[in-house]
């Protein structure tokens, strides 16, 4: 567990720990199985913890995977939208945030009077390592 995981409840800390230890995306049910020995019994225990962790930005939800991944950045919410590149072979996730990209999307929204609440940018494909294999 790096730093950011301050004042987490027991369940939140366990879920965050599982995600961080694994490093790649996990489904809520995989997390549940991982935490059976720690007393977890029902999906809701996982989902509730995930809700808070996502809210705090410690964990990201990957929509195209229906899965969750621990954030690697110290603080990845400097305003801009976050993009994810997800390798379909090894599961590795790279987060990046591009100002030009964010401006482009915000620009479209502004021009069309659309008020964004949540933005998803996910590139599925093969990472450098896996495309050489």
């Amino acid at each position: 567990m790096t730093e950011a995981a301050a004042d987490l409840t027991r369940n939140q800390a366990l879920v965050y720990g599982a995600l961080e230890k694994t490093g790649t995306p996990m489904s809520a049910y995989t997390i549940l199985d991982e935490l059976r020995d720690d007393g977890f019994r029902a999906p809701l225990q996982v989902y509730r913890a995930l809700d808070k962790l996502v809210e705090q930005g410690l964990v990201h939800r990957l929509e195209s995977l229906n899965a969750f991944v621990a954030c690697r950045h110290a603080s990845c919410h400097r305003g801009g939208f976050i993009a994810f590149a997800i390798c379909d072979t090894c599961g590795q996730v790279s987060e990046f945030s591009d100002d030009a990209l964010s401006r482009r999307l915000s620009g479209w929204a502004g021009k069309h009077s659309f008020k964004p609440s949540k933005t998803t940018i996910e590139i599925r494909g093969l990472c450098a390592g896996c495309s050489n294999a």
Copy 2:
């Protein structure tokens, strides 16, 4: 049914028709219910049709909604990535494709030797009409 729906099988045409008639995103199960009177009985009948329709670009899958929407563009696959703005109140979906955006994402991929296969860009929020209400 506009034009593009050429050489679709019966099931594909029915699913596409349902999506086009509704105009907003529909889940596979909603489509199924809509098509009971046409003889649909099982989810797979819908999913199989959707697979083909998505493959042909007539329908888009919205990852953040686990739902599907009929494409409004005559041909929206001129190479660039497609972005979707989805109103959480009225369900209206606006598709747009921005060259600068596409270049930006392709640029990141190139620089990191990441080979994209599928890209998801979805902005959830409120459309102009709904934020005035």
